[in-house]
């Protein structure tokens, strides 16, 4: 079998030799043009005049387009609410595209884009959640989930804790910036290459912009240099721009954002504010809790509604909330439109309840791990129902946490850290164990479907396509393993080429960790169809029972006979057996009423837990992650090496979000952290010094592809343990009378301030 093995990434030899092609590496046809946007330098204003004469006169400029010049829809929204690609009389954030420059070179386009003379009448800009709330600026009315009677339960509880937590956003910093090409074809046809997680949406947006049917647009995506959610909708503007310019000029067009423009224009992880009020029993168990989540959506809808929903759906994390009210406010502001980012709101919701657990432990002077364990969902019985009335059937969190606590010597190390802190004045250490329970499925139920197209050629080689896109997560490797497994072939016999809307139509975004769950099943269905035809043919030809036919080791075992796979395929072809098939999959069991907050939004849950130990310098606020131990549930892993890589990378990215990655907008709404010089992403030296990652030994109880579980997003939230460990270290600076209440990201400045607060020094 090729599945459940640590086979190397399908593009490995190309990656290490620089021969793997990303969009910007694909040679452009002769005569290609290059595009750049002219950007708003106001956060909120009416445009009173736009003088683009100097732009048009600049060297190398071929055309300059405003919203009025577009041939079709000026809309790049991924939601039903339109989002203009080019401003229409008003600007809503600093960095909003106003006009499109088409020029002979990338540099000429960018230089010319700076020459626009735009006059504005400034309007009041809403830059924070509080600004938005003050004028009731929401993209939809608040959404509430309610189970039980939380207020009376809180009132009757032995202890009440309450607080507010600010949670920062996050820049994707996919190392490959946004990029697209468009090449006009005959008639109204157009080919688009786009660095996108969602080729079908690119196809739809381009078709609307050109006023052509979907069948005139073909979108190709071989691989992305990272996506992380940032290429789910944010590539639309580039692809549409290229297509429109290609249509108007008749020439191929290319567009890529310079890094600074990319960081200024594109959406990021949503900043959140979470307010909580909880009633707690003397043993640390929650009696009732009320959450208010405030989601900074930015200037347009984009994907904010499902992101805010997913934050609500993860306000429980792995804990049973006996009486609970969760209210979500979706605040519209004048910042970039916040968008999908690994976890899709789940992390913000999850951080909220982890903060509550930390607060309970500090207030009641209990061990934080025992508080967390006391509040976990039970395996069965009444304490298994989520705030949205779904029963948690697959809970492995209690066992997984207990196992990890032993593996990581949690109790012994905690005692050792307390002893260290008693002796050490300047350096303080902290440790925390936090769990993850993450719901797997798109909450928009109809997206939970996938298609595949598989060809077997007469030399026995297999070529396949599916609807998923490769962004480094190893999706194509896993899917190829599934296909090779059906035919008993080595991995090298299976080739997956660029995701292509002409091969597999009507696809969902590669998002929600669903790539291998959905596409793996669709590919398996197609391969099974072909394998069944080959079995039927062989059974007939060799007059043998179908069950006596097996595909293994590149051969076909037919009773006592063995043929090379290619020999059987050739014989089947000669007998006119169809060697190509489509496959389709729709996730079972899921159904969801999002306004009511009831149903089964998730097919299953993925679990994990991490123990992080940190050291902080109380004179500077700097810190180091000394050690991280992770135990994570991927079901029966399709590829353990890839899954461990995903877990390690997700932890690093999650810890980065909550520690060093700080987005700073100034009073004019300008993003001041628009390059890696000021926006600090974890580097090799930031990785935990000791990093132990293990896979939980268990199969998915649901019938997923080879009983595996999704892995893309869930381990991102293991990084929460780093934030809680820093909180623990800071607490060691005080006498326990005052809760640390650390906001995220816990930059060194924030840590120093919190340390000083523990020591009674006010800033």
């Amino acid at each position: 079998m090729t599945v459940h093995r640590s086979l190397p990434h399908e593009s490995g030899p190309l990656h290490v030799t620089g021969t793997a092609r990303y969009v910007d590496d694909v040679p452009l046809p002769p005569g290609a043009l290059h595009l750049a946007f002219g950007l708003s330098d106001r956060a909120r204003a009416r445009i009173t005049a736009m003088d683009l004469d100097a732009v048009r006169a600049a060297p190398g400029v071929v055309a300059v387009l405003t919203a009025a010049d577009l041939p079709g829809a000026n809309d790049v929204s991924p939601s039903p609410v339109p989002e203009p690609m080019l401003a229409e009389g008003e600007v809503f954030f600093h960095g909003q595209p106003l006009f499109l420059v088409v020029a002979e070179s990338h540099l000429a386009a960018r230089k010319a884009a700076r020459l626009g003379k735009v006059s504005y009448e400034d309007l009041p800009a809403l830059l924070t959640i509080d600004d938005g709330l003050a004028v009731d600026s929401l993209i939809e009315p608040p959404v509430e989930y309610l189970r039980g009677a939380p207020e009376p339960a809180i009132a009757a509880a032995a202890h009440v804790i309450e607080g507010t937590m600010e949670i920062g956003g996050q820049e994707h910093f996919y190392l490959e910036g946004q990029a697209a090409h468009a090449v006009p074809g005959e008639g109204d046809e157009i080919l688009v290459l786009s660095s996108t997680q969602h080729p079908s949406e690119i196809q739809h947006k381009v078709a609307h912009a050109l006023h052509v049917p979907f069948n005139a647009v073909r979108v190709e995506m071989r691989r992305m240099g990272g996506g992380f959610g940032g290429k789910e909708s944010q590539g639309n503007a580039l692809a549409v721009s290229c297509a429109v310019a290609a249509r108007l000029t008749g020439r191929p067009c290319a567009m890529r954002y310079d890094r600074d423009d990319d960081m200024v224009i594109t959406g990021k992880r949503h900043p959140f504010q979470v307010r909580y009020r909880a009633g707690v029993a003397a043993d640390g168990r929650l009696e009732g809790i009320v959450f208010e989540q405030f989601c900074n959506c930015g200037w347009s809808n984009d994907l904010s509604l499902p992101v805010a929903d997913r934050a609500m759906l993860h306000a429980d994390n792995a804990y049973f909330l006996p009486h609970v009210r969760i209210t979500s406010h979706r605040v519209k502001t004048n910042l970039c439109s916040f968008t999908a980012f690994r976890g899709f709101g789940g992390p913000q919701g999850l951080v909220g309840i982890e903060r509550v657990m930390d607060h309970i432990a500090a207030s009641l002077r209990l061990d934080p791990l025992s508080v967390r364990q006391a509040n976990l969902y039970d395996r069965e019985g009444p304490r298994t129902v989520t705030p949205y009335h779904m029963v948690v059937e697959d809970n492995v969190a209690p066992e997984l946490i207990a196992d990890l606590a032993v593996r990581a010597d949690y109790a012994e190390r905690r005692a050792g850290i307390a002893a260290f802190n008693a002796e050490s004045r300047v350096l303080k250490r902290g440790i925390a164990l936090t769990p993850v329970k993450f719901g797997i499925s798109f909450t928009l139920t109809h997206l939970n479907q996938a298609g595949a197209l598989v060809h077997v050629y007469t030399d026995g080689s297999v070529h396949l396509n599916h609807g998923g896109t490769e962004m480094g997560q190893g999706l194509h490797t896993k899917v190829a393993q599934v296909a090779a497994g059906v035919f008993g072939l080595p991995l090298g016999a299976v080739r997956i080429t660029a995701t292509d809307t002409g091969k597999v139509p009507n696809t969902s975004a590669t998002a929600a960790s669903s790539g291998s769950d959905l596409n793996g099943m669709a590919v398996k269905a197609a391969c099974d169809t072909i394998a069944d035809r080959l079995r039927d043919f062989a059974a007939e030809r060799w007059q043998i029972d179908r069950d006596a036919i097996r595909f293994e080791g590149g051969e076909v075992v037919i009773g006592a006979e063995r043929l090379r796979f290619a020999e059987l395929v050739e014989a089947a072809y000669m007998a006119r057996v169809q060697l190509s098939a489509t496959g389709y999959y729709a996730t079972p069991k899921v159904q969801w009423d999002r306004r009511a907050g009831r149903g089964r939004p998730f097919y299953y849950f993925a679990y994990g837990a991490a123990v992080t130990e940190v050291a902080i310098d109380t004179l500077t606020g700097e810190y180091r992650i000394l050690r991280a131990d992770i135990l994570h549930d991927v079901g029966a892993s399709l590829n353990p090496a890839i899954d461990i890589g995903q877990i390690e990378g997700a932890y690093v990215q999650g810890a980065g979000w909550l520690t060093t990655e700080e987005l700073v907008w100034d009073g004019q709404g300008r993003l001041r952290t628009h390059a890696p010089s000021t926006y600090k992403i974890p580097c090799a030296s930031d990785r935990p010094q000791v990093f132990n990652v293990a896979l939980w030994d268990g199969r998915n109880r649901e019938e997923t592809i080879h009983r595996s579980k999704a892995v893309g997003e869930p381990p991102f939230m293991l990084g929460v343990s780093a934030l809680m460990a820093i909180s623990d270290a800071i607490a060691a600076c005080g006498d326990g009378s005052r809760y640390v209440a650390l906001d995220a990201p816990a930059t060194p400045e924030r840590v120093l301030r919190a340390v000083d607060a523990q020591r009674g020094i006010a800033w």
Binding site: E104, R223, P682
Partner: protein, 178 residues
């Protein structure tokens, strides 16, 4: 594509991956753009174009540089090695093979820069170039995980594949010193 606005240009000759190349360029063209757009060697990537991400790391006369921060015309007579010159899929350099063995990447976009950077970095250790984490600045640093992590911190991997990147480099480094 050559910039349409170039009014002056200069000739420059250097060797790229052992082959003499002569280009006529606007003097403001970076080495990275010369490689990617004029010589069509797209292995070096433009991650940030500000010398902050390391994706364009290229080896010039044995030392690693950010090709985006260096003008092509400054490299007359230089020996430039890009990822394409280090090894090809049918003839991999041992470090390239180690990156495959250890899954030292996810999306692969930083990989050419990581590999070029690592090869020159090991040379730096060999030439006793000191680092921030070294105990004794007068002694040659040992090849340790801490040294590699520190010396590779200019090459960002947003996928966070650092554990595997460091493992791949360590394997080669230990093989060379053994």
């Amino acid at each position: 594509m050559a910039p349409a606005s170039s009014t002056t240009s200069m000739k420059v000759s250097f060797r790229v991956n052992g082959t003499p190349r002569e280009l006529e360029l606007d003097p403001r063209v970076t080495l990275l753009d010369a490689l990617r757009e004029h010589l069509h060697l797209t292995g070096a990537k433009k991650g940030c174009d500000h010398g902050q991400c390391g994706a364009c790391t290229t080896i010039v006369n044995g030392a690693r540089i950010n090709a985006c921060l260096s003008l092509a015309v400054m490299h007359a007579g230089d020996e430039i090695t890009t990822i394409e010159g280090i090894g090809q899929p049918d003839a991999l350099h041992p470090l390239q093979a180690a990156f495959i063995e250890h899954d030292g990447y996810q999306c692969g976009y930083c990989t050419p820069g990581q590999i070029c950077s690592a090869l020159a970095m090991l040379e730096e250790i060999d030439r006793a170039v000191p680092s921030h984490v070294q105990e004794d600045l007068l002694q040659k640093a040992g090849i340790t995980e801490a040294e590699i992590r520190e010396r590779m911190s200019g090459n960002i991997c947003r996928c966070g594949a650092y554990a595997n990147i460091v493992a791949a480099i360590l394997e080669i480094a230990e093989g060379e010193t053994a």
